[in-house]
């Protein structure tokens, strides 16, 4: 019998309403814009607005409007096209200086009531918006080195604090830590101490040595943790670049994707994101460094470092520093570039976190009038040619930038000199953003110009539009009344795809648009199956209403089987694809799901509205 339950009509209406609401924001035009926000409490007011519009006029940059947004304390300048966006930003950056941050973004006219129900337009991918994309590889081995070294350091401190005398605590290449104790009698005590502070660490005692083997699971966790910390640090750094909607995501176990929409010059972004400069504070080991190097008898707790400035003989000046860290860039909470009050030299004012501050205080109280050194560490990429193949590697550059006697104990807050003005500025930014837990390389980098993005949007939309209108015209012509039903189902399907993708905050890319176009092609299939089946039932001599309900019933099973297998392919694309392929897969999966609902359920409801109930139907227009 051709019936369609009331509640299903209700469901259909609710779906229609929600889809329309959430697809709506995409209909508002998006303008390439520039956002000006104050950094140090500078005023964002009418005067600034005038200053901005005047300077843009002078530079010959056309603009649509400049409006103040009080709730965000910013000024938004809308521009006619993406080509002038970069020029406008450059003009304003030069004009406004350091008091304001100038960021590029796309602004929309989406009304507030839509924003309150969290309806947002789809975020446009880089290929549609223009911008810079980086893929970075985290150096896992280096990340582990750092962590395991830290662990060895903790064990040393633990033994010393509990008066267990040891000859050495060393890290082996296989990431195990070996402690050689002076006295075998202490071994059990030491084992208990270590086990209490590191309960997950398996320990083996033999004679006076204790071997701690870090389990693989823990090593893996350390590596993932390091990557996560890098992601956080990168986010902080990107925020200082003033990009409106940056994406920083972990990809796989050791990669990070950074996407900066609207940015056109990757150079500066790269310098800021990839920089790995940091500081270390170490105690100076007494003794003549020259003699130690000449005789080869370097004290066990020391390592040779070199001063930044050259000695009178034109050679580097060696310094012996303790292997133990007092504090490092990891523990910095805040850093500001300043000028030293006494000398006027550039300096960085540093504030450590409480743990770092405590260690610094302990060290300085015990070592008044003894020297402490500051090491500036930078990781520089270099490429060498070995056997005709290029080998990329990194050179870690460690320079002692200052050695000064501790005049009085200090804790969390102090300042460090010995840097150039530029270095002090960059370093304080880096320290503030947090240091990278592990070094990273750029392995992929791409830039898409804004005009290319606009062109891609236009092309993609045109392709979707053509494929869609063609399908509609064909159906109207071929299936008449049922063609009309099919058209409504197809349109709702498109609306639902857009709504679902907007709801999930999916990024729309060019392949995503292709996926939507392909969805139209696929959803045609379900509708054709139904309509053909109805024709077939009619040819077998069934009365019209029975033919319709039989047609839907038989076709539904076929559609489910055929589409579920196609979804499998979509899931595979999503699971194993990256970037553009993922976008395509999302559009495809969502499209198949919505097309199953619209073709099977919605179109049946419409058919029932037209042909259902008690009326006598003589012929079907199909």
């Amino acid at each position: 019998m051709l019936t369609y339950a009331r509640w299903k009509y209700a469901v259909f209406l609710v779906v229609l309403l929600i889809s329309a609401l959430y697809a709506l924001p995409n209909a508002f035009p998006q303008d390439p814009s520039i956002q000006v926000t104050a950094t140090r409490g500078a005023p964002v007011d009418e005067a600034l607005r005038k200053r901005v519009t005047d300077s843009l006029k002078t530079a010959g940059v056309p603009l649509k409007q400049a409006e103040l947004v009080p709730q965000k304390n910013s000024l938004v300048v809308r521009l006619p096209n993406a080509d002038v966006q970069v020029k406008a930003a450059d003009t304003l950056r030069a004009q406004l200086g350091n008091d304001y941050v100038v960021a590029l973004f796309l602004s929309t006219d989406v009304p507030d009531w839509l924003e309150t129900i969290r309806a947002k337009p789809m975020f446009l991918g880089l290929d549609l918006q223009g911008g810079v994309h980086f893929l970075m590889q985290v150096d896992r081995a280096a990340a582990l080195d750092k962590r395991v070294d830290g662990l060895a350091d903790d064990i040393r401190t633990l033994l010393r604090d509990n008066e267990v005398v040891y000859d050495s605590v060393d890290r082996r290449p296989d990431n195990s830590i070996v402690a050689n104790l002076r006295n075998p009698a202490d071994a059990e005590k030491a084992r208990q101490l270590i086990a209490r502070s590191q309960p997950t660490l398996p320990l083996e005692v033999s004679g006076n040595t204790i071997v701690a083997r870090i389990p693989q699971v823990q090593l893996d966790a350390m590596a993932v943790d390091a990557v996560e910390q890098n992601v956080t640090t990168l986010r902080n750094r990107v925020n200082q670049l003033g990009v409106a909607e940056p994406i920083v995501q972990r990809q796989g176990s050791d990669r990070v994707v950074v996407e900066l929409p609207g940015v056109q010059d990757p150079g500066e972004a790269k310098r800021m994101i990839g920089a790995t400069a940091t500081l270390e504070y170490r105690a100076v080991v007494e003794g003549n460094a020259y003699d130690a190097i000449a005789s080869g008898s370097i004290p066990a707790q020391a390592r040779v470092y070199y001063r930044r400035e050259l000695g009178p003989d034109g050679k580097r000046i060696p310094v012996l520093l303790n292997k133990r860290l007092i504090a490092s860039g990891d523990q910095v909470e805040d850093a500001q570039p300043i000028s030293d009050q006494q000398t006027g030299l550039p300096a960085v004012s540093v504030r450590l976190n409480s743990a770092g501050g405590q260690r610094m205080f302990d060290f300085t109280s015990e070592n008044v009038d003894k020297p402490m050194a500051v090491v500036f560490i930078e990781r520089l990429p270099e490429t060498r040619i070995v056997d005709g193949k290029e080998v990329r590697s990194f050179r870690v550059d460690e320079q002692v930038i200052s050695v000064a006697n501790v005049n009085e104990p200090f804790g969390r807050q102090f300042q460090t000199t010995g840097l150039s003005r530029q270095e002090a500025n960059d370093l304080s930014k880096l320290l503030k953003a947090g240091s990278l837990a592990a070094p990273m390389d750029f392995i992929e980098e791409s830039v898409v110009g804004p005009s290319l993005g606009a062109e891609n949007v236009e092309r993609g939309l045109r392709a979707v539009l053509y494929s869609f209108s063609f399908a509609l015209i064909f159906f109207l012509f071929y299936y008449r009344v049922f063609g009309l039903i099919t058209c409504i189902a197809l349109m709702l399907n498109l609306l639902m795809v857009v709504a679902v993708m907007s709801m999930f905050g999916a990024t729309l890319s060019l392949p995503g648009l292709a996926g939507i176009a392909l969805t139209v092609g696929m959803s045609v299939d379900a509708n054709v199956l139904i309509n053909e089946r109805i024709r077939e039932e009619l040819r077998m001599g069934l009365p019209p209403q029975t033919a319709i309900s039989e047609g839907y019933k038989h076709a539904a099973g076929t559609i489910a089987d055929a589409n579920l297998t196609a979804i499998l392919a979509g899931v595979a694309l999503y699971a194993f694809g990256t970037g553009p392929v993922k976008g395509f897969a999302v559009a495809l999966i969502v499209g198949i799901l919505t097309s199953m609902y619209t073709a099977v359920s919605v179109s049946r409801g419409l058919a029932t509205l037209i042909y259902g109930g008690r009326r006598k139907v003589q012929t079907l227009w199909i």
């Binding site: 990429p381 490429t383 992929e444 494929s467 008449r480 060019l510 054709v528 089987d561 194993f576 970037g579």
Partner: protein, 316 residues
């Protein structure tokens, strides 16, 4: 009012009579595709090989040879240059030449732009990308994993909903389509990039979809018709023929729109899908059904198993 149709209903074409021919043709196509892959290999895009790609727009059309000479003078001797769409858009591809990571794609892009541009024909840089080969290797491996995932998924689902012989036939048909589409790219030497891979994988989706629709009807007819398997298969294909033709036609036009209007970046994907839709449609008729016959599918295969076991259990 007679319904309008492109395809006469009630067709009784004997497709199964051609089964040997069609399977031989399919086998030959596959063989040719594998041969093309083995001999030609692929023209892999940056996505897979790593390197630097720079897209430029010139004011006037430019001769590729001239552009290549200018790049060689600037020290980029192994640059591949091709035009995109209009003669004014160029894609320049460079392999990393001993200056990798620290080098910036943007600066290379700028250098390439300067090299190609001349005073009377200035160029603007539209995009530039630098990709490491390592990423490419992973992409290829992931593509293969995706394929394995899909095949296993199909096998489980179709065996569960239909029967193992159907699953085998459907998967062989789908793989045939994928291999031939991939072979097409090897044969023509058209660029094989990431979106082409996506296109190839979506061809799997289309191809299986088409095959399942036919199989669905085969299953139904096996359960209701009292006839030889050959007759059942022929009837099933003929009954679904109008739907197959219409769907393929509309889907074909959809991807044709992508090919014509989607611009350069979607051309590869659309091309894979155009070839895939034509193949997927033909193979569901000429490969999948003959395979079913060849595997000896019978009425019993689709009957619920429980009854036979109960029958056996009753016997003393």
């Amino acid at each position: 009012m007679k319904p309008f149709n492109v395809f006469p209903y009630g067709s009784t074409i004997n497709f199964m009579r051609l089964r040997m021919v069609s399977l031989i043709v399919a086998g030959a196509l596959m063989f040719a595709a594998i041969g093309a892959i083995a001999i030609n290999g692929f023209n892999f895009a940056l996505d897979f090989t790593g390197g630097i790609g720079v897209e430029l727009r010139m004011d006037k059309p430019v001769d590729i040879e001239v552009a290549r000479d200018r790049l060689a003078k600037a020290g980029y001797s192994h640059a591949q240059v091709q035009t995109l769409g209009a003669g004014t858009d160029l894609l320049v591809r460079l392999q990393h030449e001993g200056k990798g990571g620290a080098e910036q794609a943007a600066s290379v892009g700028e250098q390439v732009r300067k090299a190609v541009a001349s005073p009377d024909n200035p160029a603007t840089l539209r995009s530039s990308a630098e990709i490491s080969a390592q990423v490419g290797k992973e992409l290829a491996i992931n593509g293969i994993w995706a394929l394995v995932f899909v095949v296993v998924g199909f096998l489980i689902y179709i065996s569960f909903r239909f029967q193992a012989k159907f699953a085998a036939a459907a998967i062989i048909t789908t793989l045939h389509d994928v291999v031939v589409v991939v072979g097409w790219f090897a044969l023509t030497g058209h660029e094989f990039n990431l979106t082409v891979l996506a296109g190839v994988l979506s061809v799997m989706g289309y191809s299986i979809n088409d095959t399942i629709v036919v199989f669905d009807r085969v299953r139904e007819n096996f359960r209701t018709m009292r006839a030889e398997p050959t007759a059942v298969l022929n009837a099933s294909i003929n009954q679904t023929l109008s739907r197959t033709v219409i769907t393929s036609f509309v889907a074909f036009l959809t991807v044709l729109a992508l090919y014509l209007f989607g611009g350069e970046s979607l051309r590869g994907m659309a091309e894979a899908q155009i070839v895939g839709i034509v193949l997927g449609t033909l193979s569901s008729i000429f490969v999948a059904c003959p395979l079913l016959l060849w595997f000896g599918t019978t009425k019993q295969d689709l009957m619920p198993k429980a009854r036979d076991e109960a029958e056996l259990a009753r016997r003393p």
